[in-house]
Assembly symmetry: C2
Homo-oligomer: 320 residues x 2
């Protein structure tokens, strides 16, 4: 029986299918399924050696699986339940969301600095008044919490726009390209009182839960802005809403929240100077992201067929 | 009697006043006035040799004036009425708005590309749905109409964010740094069908009135976006509103309109996929802009006192 690859991603174009089929190089058979072919995809997955999919639902019953490539970057769910995979199954992800998440971050940063939510409210009232004091990315001091591919893409754009200093914060303080300084997360308390902006792009792990705690929010300057594009669990949301409403910090932009969708009665809906978006910073609807995602899978498919180590392995015990 | 400089700018800090006084180097006397001291400023202006001001109101009666430095960049009003100035009076402006206008342009470009107005409308309804197809600055083809300081600052940022091609459009087709190609405005019709985005940063002159005419709007692709940060007169607004409402172009962001404030019954208030802002892209409330504005004046003040040519002269017959 032939060795099968089950691909279950709705957004693929014919050119992506051709690219994957070519990468399989006749050594394996590739079968593609869209959203409406879920039953067929589930059946295929039960026999498949390789699954490349955004969601986890195909994993139930995939007992012959040797390699699961996740089209999404976040691995918190699989890390919490590694038994979703057969023992010894290789896991990779497609961490290609840096560009789109960095553009989202630049957008909301400028919206906060330039008081855009207030101007938009005036425009809705047909009130043509200017005059609000604004700020610039030029000269800004930023704490970039998370120095992976996403954090590096953000830092690159903030540098290009003239930010004065970008302090990368990661678990170990290990070096990463593109930051003016790197500090371990233990030193975050020293960094927070000095920055104009804190950007969070950390994976959802036990270590990142409430990383931006009530105590740490209290260390921020009144001018400080908070942006979260990683996982909602990384912020004490009640404390953030209180700080915003009391004017103890200047604003925030959350693309992720602890519970999604955000519950209808959550205080964040009405918090002052808060820009909310429904987990779309890393949206798969950007063509560039789909292209790079397929590139990343095909690179490892060639590795897999040749018996080489996979380039995009995820360590589920670490969570990323 | 001493040679007097009358400075009438509300936003100056003590350090700016010190800087200007130092630049006068004892050769001239500098007097500073805030918004509340308008009567005193008017009296000073009548005797002044030099005026440095944002507004034009001091010019009435300033018969001894030899040099007027405009803190604003736009000179359309003075070009239309040069008799506001005594014959032979030198005119300079402070064209230091590139950074803040470029940041505004990046912000609204990303908001349009990433469907932010639609997501904001969903958030106001507490509707946590994603999934809208979005686009990126990465790979974009842009027509940048106006290749002065503002156009160059915008092009620099779009290149840094990965734009594929930026075509500069100016009156003569003369070379300008930082563009992939420069074409004269006569060739605009050839450029418009090829671009993802048209950005207008042109001064208000007889030549720029309805530069983006109904006929030219019809040349744009359905995916095209229009951004105007120059003068509202440069666009046929009725044709733009119609094209937006009919979905013949994908969106627009106007920081300037032909008549400001925008009249309460103007069709632009309700046009689809339009981001309006009340002429704030070049707001003087950004500290960086005030700093560079004062630098620019002080540079020419030193030139003036030494009898050298002024660096920031404006040609009122040309309009910029």
């Amino acid at each position: 029986m032939s060795r099968e690859i089950c691909v279950f991603i709705d957004e693929l174009e014919p050119r992506h299918r051709d690219q994957i089929t070519a990468a399989a190089a006749g050594a394996m058979t590739v079968r593609f399924f869209g959203k409406k072919e879920k039953a067929e995809a589930m059946a295929c997955a039960r026999e498949a050696e390789v699954i490349y999919a955004m969601s986890r639902e195909l994993l139930a019953g995939a007992e012959k699986l040797k390699w699961y490539c996740s089209a999404s970057a976040g691995m918190d769910d699989l890390s919490a339940q590694p038994e979703m995979l057969p023992a010894g199954c290789l896991v990779t992800n497609s961490n290609v969301y840096g560009l789109t998440i960095a553009e989202h971050t630049v957008m909301v940063a400028l919206m906060l600095l330039r008081r855009m939510p207030e101007y938009e409210a005036r425009m809705r009232e047909r009130d043509w008044r200017g005059g609000l004091p604004i700020r610039s990315i030029h000269g800004l001091t930023v704490a970039m919490v998370g120095t992976g591919q996403i954090g590096r893409c953000i830092a690159q754009r903030f540098h290009a726009l003239g930010a004065a200093k970008i302090v990368g914060v990661n678990r170990s303080g290990r070096k990463a390209e593109g930051f003016d300084e790197i500090v371990p997360v233990e030193e975050l308390d020293r960094v927070l009182p000095e920055v104009d902006m804190v950007i969070l792009a950390v994976p959802g792990t036990a270590q990142t839960v409430r990383l931006l705690s009530r105590e740490r929010i209290a260390l921020l300057r009144p001018e400080a802005l908070v942006i979260n594009v990683g996982r909602g669990t990384a912020i004490d949301q009640a404390a953030l809403a209180e700080a915003l409403n009391a004017g103890r910090i200047a604003g925030a932009a959350l693309d992720v929240v602890a519970q999604e969708p955000l519950p209808a009665d959550d205080p964040l809906w009405t918090a002052k100077n808060l820009i909310l978006t429904p987990h779309v910073s890393g949206t798969f609807t950007l063509a560039y992201t789909v292209d790079r995602n397929v590139d990343s899978f095909c690179e490892d498919l060639a590795n897999y067929i040749a018996g080489r180590p996979l380039a995009h392995r995820v360590d589920l015990t670490r969570g990323y």
